[in-house]
């Protein structure tokens, strides 16, 4: 069922246009990379603070609230620029194990962010013991994993 869905995506006129238009893929990929940098920065500023590093003189919840919108909007940009790439190379993605590992971590990362990470980062500081460090470490690990697998789709698939 999933395979036929990916075949359908690959067969869309938009996918054909993406592949035929010389500059479409490069522009989308460049925008995706710029969005990745914005997303990584927003995640790291808060995660380093959770680990007790970085901007430690600024209250954690203040920092987390400020970075939240940057994280969300840069993720939206990542999705908007990532979807056309998946559409145009749907079957390559389908047969790549890295694509599926990446998507699994993206989903877990999003759930983790909007539940546990947000709760810990927005909480009163000092009330959660070592949890902020654990959460910061897991968040950095997950999003690093996403970047690694994303890069490997193009290189090893």
């Amino acid at each position: 069922m999933l395979q036929s869905f990916f075949q359908w995506m690959q067969g869309l006129p938009f996918s054909a246009w993406m592949l035929e238009e010389t500059w479409a893929s490069p522009i989308i990929q460049c925008a995706h990379l710029v969005a990745l940098v914005a997303f990584a920065g927003a995640v790291l500023v808060v995660d380093m603070r959770l680990l007790g590093r970085g901007l430690i003189k600024t209250p954690l919840n203040q920092l987390a609230r400020e970075m939240d919108r940057w994280m969300i909007w840069s993720f939206v940009a990542l999705f908007v620029t990532g979807a056309p790439q998946v559409l145009s190379t749907a079957l390559k993605q389908y047969y790549s194990p890295f694509f599926w590992w990446k998507m699994q971590i993206v989903i877990i990362g999003l759930l983790f962010n909007f539940t546990i990470r947000r709760r810990v980062a927005f909480a009163e500081e000092g009330s959660l013991g070592h949890w902020p460090k654990v959460v910061g470490f897991l968040s950095i690990g997950m999003w690093t994993g996403v970047s690694v697998y994303a890069r490997l789709i193009g290189l090893l698939s």
């Binding site: 010389t22 500059w23 490069p26 990929q29 460049c30 990379l33 710029v34 990745l36 940098v37 914005a38 997303f39 990584a40 920065g41 927003a42 995640v43 790291l44 500023v45 380093m48 590093r53 970085g54 901007l55 430690i56 003189k57 600024t58 203040q62 920092l63 400020e66 970075m67 940057w70 690093t144 970047s147 690694v148 890069r151 490997l152 290189l155 090893l156």
Partner: protein, 174 residues
Amino acid sequence: MRSLFEWVDALPSSIALRESLNAYPTMLTIHVVSMCLFAGLIAYWDMRLVGLTLRKVPVSNIPTRLFPWALTGYGINLITGALLLYSQPMRYYGNFYFWAKMVLMLIAGINMFWFHYATYKSVQAWDQGREIPMNARLAGVVSLVLWAAVVVTGRMMAYSGLMPQWWNNLNIGA
């Protein structure tokens, strides 16, 4: 310059790195991840200077607390970038985007030093305030644009068929 690239290209260690199945994906992946660490943190420093975010954070806090991490990312990025170049020098020699990236990085570096040794000296006067001097804002905008262009040209290096016609006419890579 070309003979230097050709000399490196023929070195046994360069050939070994080029022929290794795992070296290129490993180096490029580390290059991208370290770019996220460096460029991600620098982007928010620049946006603080421009006044787009972190406005309640004293300006001087960011270089003190975030730059060691950003510089670690930059160091890893430089090493992996140098190894990528070392492994395929002739691939990059004729690549317009490679040279454009190098020039942009140089200009971004000059902008950074100029800001550090000129504008940043008076940081105590505007550290806590929301009003950032025009010179600092300008340095932030220039830095944002330049590092974004470095990221873009870095990605474009993979598209050797999309180089400007005037560059192709120079026949540098031939």
